[in-house]
C-alpha cells in the first residue's frame, strides 16, 4: 500500500513518461531537495529538461506557465504553500481563465499544484486552506483528492483531459497517509460523478439507512477512518461523501446520497464564512427542499489567523470532535 505522496510521485512519473508536452515549474523542485514536500523527488533527475526550478516569483512563474499552455505545452506549477496562491491570483483569474473564455479557439491547460492546510505548526501564512478564494471562477476547476482517492491517477486525468486551468490541492497532512483504497473496515465505493471526477462514498454500516450524510473533501478524509469507526460503535450510521472535484461540485450525486439520510453535515478546513460548505448547502437546500429533517450543519475552522503554537492551532482548526459534535447535533433534531 502506498502513501498519498508516493502515489502522487508515481503519477507524475507516469505522466512525464507518457507525455513529452508536460513541463513542471516551481521553487526548489530540483533533486536532491525535490520540492518542499518531496512531491517532485527524482523527477528532475529523470527528466532534467522538463523540470524547471524557478526564482521565488509565484506570479511570474504562473504567467510563464500560461505562456507555455497557450503554445501547446501542459505546464504544472508547484506553489510551495497554498497560501502563496494569492500572489498568482491575477495571473489565474485575469489571464489563464479569461483566455479560453474571451479568445476564440484558445485552450489554456494550466495545472497549479499546491499543498494546503494546517496542523503542522507553520503558522498564519503557511497553514491556510485558501481554495475558497478561487471558487466560482468561470473556466477554473478545483480538484482536491482525499486519501480515499488516487491523486496520481487524478493528476494524469487532468493533464490528459482538461483543456483549461485547474488548481490541484493537496492537503499537507495527507502526504504521509496510506491510501485507503481497499480498507476492509469501511466499505468504499469510488464513483465517477457528473463532473467526470470520482466521489468517494464510505459507509460505516452494513444494513439500514444512514442517520447522517457527511460531506467533505481533501484533508477532511484524514479524520474519517477513526471517526466513522467511533460513530459505528455508537450505532450512528454515516454515509460520507468526498468529491475530488470541489468546483464544479457533483451536486446531483451529493443530493442523491444526502437524501437517504435527510440530515447533512458539511465539513471543510477553511475559515468560517462564505465557505465551500455554504455554497454546497445552498444548492442542497434547493435540491432537497422538503426532504431534510433538519437544517444543514456546516463545520469549518475558526475565523481567525491560524496560530503556530500547537494547542492554539488545534483550538482554531477543524477537528474530528467538531465534526462528531455536528453529527450528534443534527441527529438530535426530532
Amino acid at each position: 500500500m502506498s502513501t498519498y505522496l508516493q502515489n502522487l510521485q508515481n503519477g507524475l512519473f507516469e505522466l512525464f513518461s507518457n507525455n513529452s508536452r508536460v513541463i513542471l515549474l516551481g521553487e526548489d523542485v530540483l533533486d536532491p531537495y525535490g520540492g518542499a514536500f518531496k512531491v517532485t523527488a527524482g523527477l528532475s533527475t529523470q527528466f532534467p529538461n522538463r523540470v524547471l526550478t524557478t526564482p521565488i516569483s509565484e506570479a511570474g512563474i504562473t504567467g510563464v506557465a500560461i505562456g507555455l499552455a497557450l503554445r501547446g505545452y501542459i505546464p504544472i506549477v508547484e506553489i510551495m504553500f497554498g497560501d502563496f496562491l494569492t500572489l498568482c491570483a491575477d495571473q489565474i483569474i485575469n489571464h489563464a481563465t479569461k483566455f479560453p473564455n474571451m479568445y476564440r479557439d484558445v485552450t489554456c491547460p494550466l495545472i497549479m499544484r499546491s499543498p494546503m492546510g494546517g496542523g503542522r505548526g507553520y503558522g498564519p501564512t503557511h497553514s491556510q486552506s485558501l481554495e475558497k478564494m478561487f471558487l466560482g471562477i468561470p473556466e477554473l476547476k478545483l480538484i482536491a483528492p482525499s486519501h480515499y482517492h488516487q491523486p496520481g491517477q487524478t493528476i494524469q486525468h487532468i493533464a490528459t483531459q482538461e483543456i483549461n486551468p485547474v488548481i490541484f490541492i493537496e492537503h499537507k497532512l495527507l502526504y504521509r497517509e496510506t491510501l485507503q483504497l481497499n480498507s476492509e473496515a469501511l466499505p468504499l465505493i469510488l464513483k465517477t460523478d457528473e463532473t467526470g471526477y470520482q466521489t468517494a462514498i464510505l459507509r460505516n454500516y452494513d444494513v439500514g439507512i444512514p442517520d447522517v450524510c457527511l460531506i467533505g473533501y481533501g484533508g477532511i478524509s484524514r479524520f474519517l477512518p477513526e471517526l466513522l469507526k467511533k460513530l459505528a460503535a455508537e450505532e450512528i450510521r454515516i454515509i460520507a461523501l468526498l468529491p475530488e472535484s470541489i468546483d464544479p461540485v457533483p451536486i446531483e450525486m451529493l443530493a442523491h446520497f444526502a437524501a437517504e439520510a435527510g440530515r447533512i453535515v458539511i465539513a471543510e478546513e477553511s475559515t468560517e464564512g462564505f465557505t465551500w460548505a455554504s455554497g454546497i448547502a445552498s444548492q442542497l437546500y434547493e435540491n432537497l427542499w422538503g426532504k431534510l429533517h433538519c437544517p444543514i450543519k456546516m463545520v469549518t475552522s475558526a475565523r481567525c489567523a491560524i496560530p503556530t503554537a500547537i494547542q492554539q492551532e488545534a483550538d482554531v482548526l477543524i477537528s474530528s470532535l467538531n465534526i462528531e459534535n455536528a453529527i450528534l447535533e443534527v441527529i438530535s433534531w426530532a
Partner: protein, 382 residues
C-alpha cells in the same frame, strides 16, 4: 403525592449538569411552573421549574455536578409529606466529569430522548449491558393499546332507524348529569332503538331534578341496585373532564358485569367495516371512516373525523372538530382538545394530551403534553 426533581437531560452532549443555586430555601412553598433552581451545562444555564404546587426539599448541595436523572430535590404536596425512598445515583465528583464506561450508545441516548424512554431506568434494568438503539426502540411506549387487545370488538355499521317497528327499546342509564347528559338525551331523541330511563350523578343537589324530562335519581352507587332490579339494560358515561375518573367508572361497572352501550348520533356517519367495543359516545356530525377500530369508553365530540383504518384505543376524549387522517394510531387515555389535526400514519402514545389547535406532524411518545402549533413536547407528564 409529591414529586422528585431529577437532573434533566439538557442537551445531547451533556450527560450531567452542575447545580448552580437554589432559588428557594429548603421547605419553602413553591408554585407550579415557578423556577426553583439553576443548573448549568457546558453550553448554557437553565432554570428548572416546579411541576406541581408544594413545598421544596433540597436533596443535593449546590456546586456539584450530577448525572442526568439524579434526584436533586423533592416537592412535597403537603408540609408534612416525607421524601420517599428512592435509589440514589451517585453524583459526579465536584466539577469533574469523568467519562466512565458508557452505559448506552449515543444513538440510544438520542432516541431515548426523542421517544420518551427513561434511559437511566433502562440501564438499571439491564446491568452490564450496553444499551443500544434496538433495546430503546423495543421498550418505547407501545402505541398499540393494552386494552384494545382485551376489547370485545363488534362490527358496527350505523344506519339511523327512523321508524318504530321494534317492540323492544334498549333502556339506557346515564352516568353524569351535566352537559354530556344533555348531549346523550338530545341524541336519543332521534334514536328509536334506545331510550334514557334515568340519570345518576354524585352531586346530591341534582337529585330529584330533571333534565329534558329525565330524572336524576341518585348517585353512581345506585346503579348496582337498579341493575339487580333489572331497571335498565346498559350504561353510558358522560364524564369527560378527568380521564382517570372516566376510566375508573367504566372499569368499576364492567368488572361486576354491568354492560355499557354505544350511543351514536343519528347524523353521525359510521361507515362500513368499522369495529368498536362498548361505552363509546359519538356526537352529531362525527364521521368514522371505513376500516376504523375504536376501543371502549371513548367520547367523540361533535364533528370528530376519524379517517380510514385508524385505530383508537380506549378512554380517549376528542374535542369538537378534531380530525385524524388515515391510518393514525391512538393509544389509551389520550385527550384531544378542540380542532386538533393529525397527519396520516402518526402514532400517539398513552395518556398524551394534545392541546386545541395543534397540528401533529410527527409521532408523539406516551405521557407527552403537546402544546402550540409547532408540535414540540414541552414536558413529560411522567
Amino acid at each position: 403525592m409529591g414529586m422528585i426533581i431529577k437532573m434533566p437531560l439538557l442537551n445531547i452532549n451533556d450527560e450531567s449538569a452542575t447545580l448552580v443555586r437554589w432559588l428557594h430555601s429548603d421547605g419553602a412553598r413553591v408554585s407550579q411552573n415557578e423556577p426553583i433552581c439553576v443548573v448549568e451545562t457546558t453550553k448554557s444555564a437553565v432554570d428548572i421549574c416546579a411541576e406541581i404546587d408544594g413545598f421544596l426539599r433540597q436533596l443535593a448541595p449546590v456546586g456539584s455536578t450530577y448525572i442526568t436523572g439524579y434526584a436533586i430535590g423533592f416537592i412535597a404536596s403537603s408540609i408534612d409529606e416525607l421524601v420517599p425512598n428512592f435509589e440514589h445515583i451517585e453524583p459526579y465528583s465536584n466539577n469533574i466529569v469523568e467519562s466512565t464506561s458508557p452505559k448506552w450508545t449515543k444513538k440510544a441516548q438520542i432516541l431515548a430522548n426523542r421517544l420518551g424512554v427513561d434511559l437511566i431506568a433502562l440501564a438499571a434494568a439491564h446491568p452490564g449491558v450496553l444499551i443500544g438503539e434496538e433495546l430503546v426502540k423495543s421498550v418505547a411506549p407501545s402505541i398499540e393499546s393494552e386494552s384494545l387487545r382485551a376489547v370485545n370488538l363488534t362490527a358496527v355499521t350505523h344506519l339511523p332507524i327512523t321508524h318504530a317497528n321494534d317492540t323492544h327499546q334498549e333502556r339506557v342509564l346515564i352516568l353524569g348529569g351535566s352537559g354530556g347528559a344533555a348531549l346523550v338525551l338530545d341524541i336519543l331523541s332521534d334514536v328509536l332503538t334506545q331510550q334514557a330511563i334515568g340519570i345518576l350523578d354524585n352531586n346530591p343537589k341534582l337529585f330529584n331534578t330533571t333534565l329534558m324530562g329525565v330524572p336524576v335519581i341518585g348517585g353512581f352507587d345506585l346503579a348496582i341496585q337498579l341493575w339487580q332490579e333489572k331497571k335498565f339494560d346498559t350504561l353510558i358515561s358522560t364524564v369527560v373532564k378527568d380521564i382517570a375518573d372516566r376510566v375508573s367508572i367504566f372499569e368499576r361497572f364492567t368488572q361486576i358485569g354491568i354492560p355499557f352501550t354505544n350511543i351514536i348520533a343519528a347524523n353521525a356517519n359510521v361507515r362500513r367495516d368499522c369495529r368498536m367495543g362498548t361505552g363509546n359516545l359519538i356526537v352529531h356530525g362525527s364521521y368514522i371512516a371505513t376500516g376504523v377500530t375504536l376501543g371502549n369508553n371513548n367520547f367523540l365530540a361533535a364533528g370528530t373525523y376519524i379517517e380510514h383504518h385508524s385505530i383508537i384505543g380506549s378512554h380517549c376524549t376528542f374535542g369538537p372538530r378534531t380530525s385524524l387522517s388515515g391510518r393514525v394510531k391512538v393509544a389509551d387515555r389520550v385527550k384531544f382538545g378542540t380542532h386538533v389535526a393529525v397527519e396520516p400514519f402518526i402514532e400517539i402514545g398513552t395518556e398524551s394530551v394534545i392541546a386545541s389547535g395543534v397540528v401533529l406532524t410527527s409521532h408523539i411518545p406516551s405521557y407527552s403534553i403537546v402544546k402550540n402549533a409547532s408540535n414540540s413536547v414541552i414536558r413529560h407528564a411522567r
